[in-house]
């Protein structure tokens, strides 16, 4: 497990960029943290590192948004948000089957604690809100 401290939005984005360097494609990133912890900020950092030009907006309402990257091997960032979901037994319920295990995609799931069966290769990212000046990001 790696632990990072973040004092600003841009520091959270930089942590996300460090995480991207270790990705090969096909991974699932499970983001957990309360409202206002900085989950979407983290995803904005992922998007920047993958060379996505589109602005990342909250997928809360539509549950899933897909972005094309300009990365050499990872072609898509699939941004999922389970905020509105009660316990989901299966990620297939939200139409993720096409992208899980796809080596050209990275799937990042906000509020991942609301999904019951995450795949084995899932990378857990916990963003803990300490106070308005500090967040702790744990990657495991």
């Amino acid at each position: 497990m790696k632990e990072y401290k973040s004092k600003t939005q841009s520091e959270t984005e930089k942590i996300a960029q460090a995480v991207v360097k270790k990705l090969q494609g096909g991974e699932v990133l499970a983001l957990v943290g309360n409202l206002g912890a900085g989950k979407t900020v983290f995803v904005k950092g992922l998007a920047k590192a993958l060379g996505i030009e589109d602005n990342i907006t909250s997928p809360t309402f539509v549950l899933m948004k897909i972005y094309q990257t300009s990365h050499a091997t990872i072609k898509r960032l699939v941004h999922v948000d389970c905020y509105r979901l009660e316990k989901v037994d299966d990620l297939d319920d939200i139409g993720l089957a096409d992208y899980l295990h796809d080596p050209a995609s990275i799937v990042v799931i906000e509020w991942a604690d609301r999904v019951v069966n995450l795949p084995k290769n899932t990378i857990n990212i916990n963003i803990e809100y300490i106070n308005s000046q500090e967040r702790i990001v744990k990657v495991s």
Binding site: G36, T40, T57, T60, Y83, E86, V88
Partner: protein
């Protein structure tokens, strides 16, 4: 011309039949089956449940809507192709395709947001009669999933001039309600409590109010309320009402200011409000007051058309047909139609 419209983009199953009478739109049928009570207990929409519910309700609703004439008097079948939840959209799309294949009537895929914009035409006869020139119109689209400023230069012609960079307005209301331990959906609850609060007691930020563009950011406002609650620690009922009022005022001020800056820049002949948050009386009143000062006509949909409905989809289809901007699908082409969950009405 008689249009059957089908809307299943989220958690309402809706059908409508629209025609024209004496130069005005006439709704022969307008049915909305809402699943909100089913989803309330989950605190949001459950896609799998929504999908199954659409499947259960759409056939009985269709039979009821069409009656014994079935499709005999229908000329076109319009349906919501996107944006929305793909698991919900697919039911409406499949129904439209089946009807189209079986009947040989032409299908018209409609964008859900365009539908919301046309809820204004359903509401206001002066828009239908075409007597006043309203274009270009600055349209503020605000809902649970959208916050966009659109310049409408004519029927079916849109230009995106601003959008949210993070959360949508309806979503911000929902999340603030959650932070305050209130129920779901958050919009109506927060605006009701705001009536009892002092909007000037606490000062929340107006994100991007002075940015030199028409974009919005609401995520930071939500976070500022989180910080505020942390600092304050104990809050009573009056505090909750004051926070709701202060939050609503902050959101409204940003929306109103940018809408009218856009109106000035683009020489708007009218202002329109659309989407689920158009049910918010405080926002509507503030837009109206500003429009009155500048003597620009302001339009908002009547309450029953603020939520998702099929009548607005039929109205959008009607004006596309009338202005020869309809994309029609029939015969073999029908099989190619699929839901488009991320369909952008306008691309910058």
């Amino acid at each position: 011309m008689r249009i059957l419209a089908i809307e299943t983009s989220c958690d309402e199953t809706a059908l409508a039949i629209l025609t024209e009478r004496k130069g005005f739109l006439y709704l022969e049928k307008d049915i909305v089956y809402s699943q909100v009570d089913i989803h309330k207990k989950y605190g949001g929409v459950v896609p799998e449940v929504a999908s199954r519910k659409h499947l259960e309700t759409i056939m009985p609703l269709l039979q009821h809507t069409l009656g014994k004439n079935k499709l005999k008097n229908i000329d076109y079948i319009a349906f919501t192709q996107g944006p929305g939840l793909v698991t919900s959209l697919v039911l409406g799309v499949a129904t439209a395709k089946a009807l189209g294949l079986a009947s040989n009537k032409a299908l018209l895929p409609i964008n859900h947001l365009e539908g919301h914009i046309y809820s204004n035409w359903l509401t206001h006869q002066e828009l239908q009669s075409n007597k006043i020139n309203i274009f270009p119109s600055v349209v503020l689209v605000v809902s649970g999933g959208h916050t966009e400023l659109i310049l409408m230069t004519g029927h079916g012609q849109y230009k995106l001039i601003g959008k949210t960079l993070d959360d949508a307005v309806g979503e911000a209301f929902d999340k603030v309600a959650k932070l305050l331990g209130l129920g779901y959906p958050g919009g109506p609850i927060v605006s009701k409590l705001a009536l009892m609060g002092n909007a000037h007691k606490y000062d929340f930020p107006r994100p991007m109010i002075n940015s030199h563009n028409f974009d919005f950011s609401l995520s930071g406002l939500k976070t500022s309320i989180l910080y505020f609650l942390e600092k304050k620690q104990k809050i009573n009922q009056q505090d909750v009402a004051d926070i709701c009022a202060g939050f609503q005022l902050a959101v409204t001020e940003v929306l109103v200011k940018k809408t009218f800056l856009a109106a000035k820049k683009y020489g708007a002949k009218s202002i329109m409000l659309a989407g689920g948050v158009s049910a918010n009386t405080f926002l509507k009143q503030n837009l109206q007051n500003n429009a009155d000062k500048l003597a620009i006509p302001f339009f908002a949909p009547e309450m029953k058309f603020t939520g998702d409905n099929a009548a607005m989809i039929a109205a959008a289809a009607f004006y596309r047909l009338k202005n020869k901007k309809a994309r029609l699908f029939s015969g073999d082409k029908i099989s190619k139609l699929e839901p488009d969950a991320n369909w952008q009405l306008v691309v910058k």
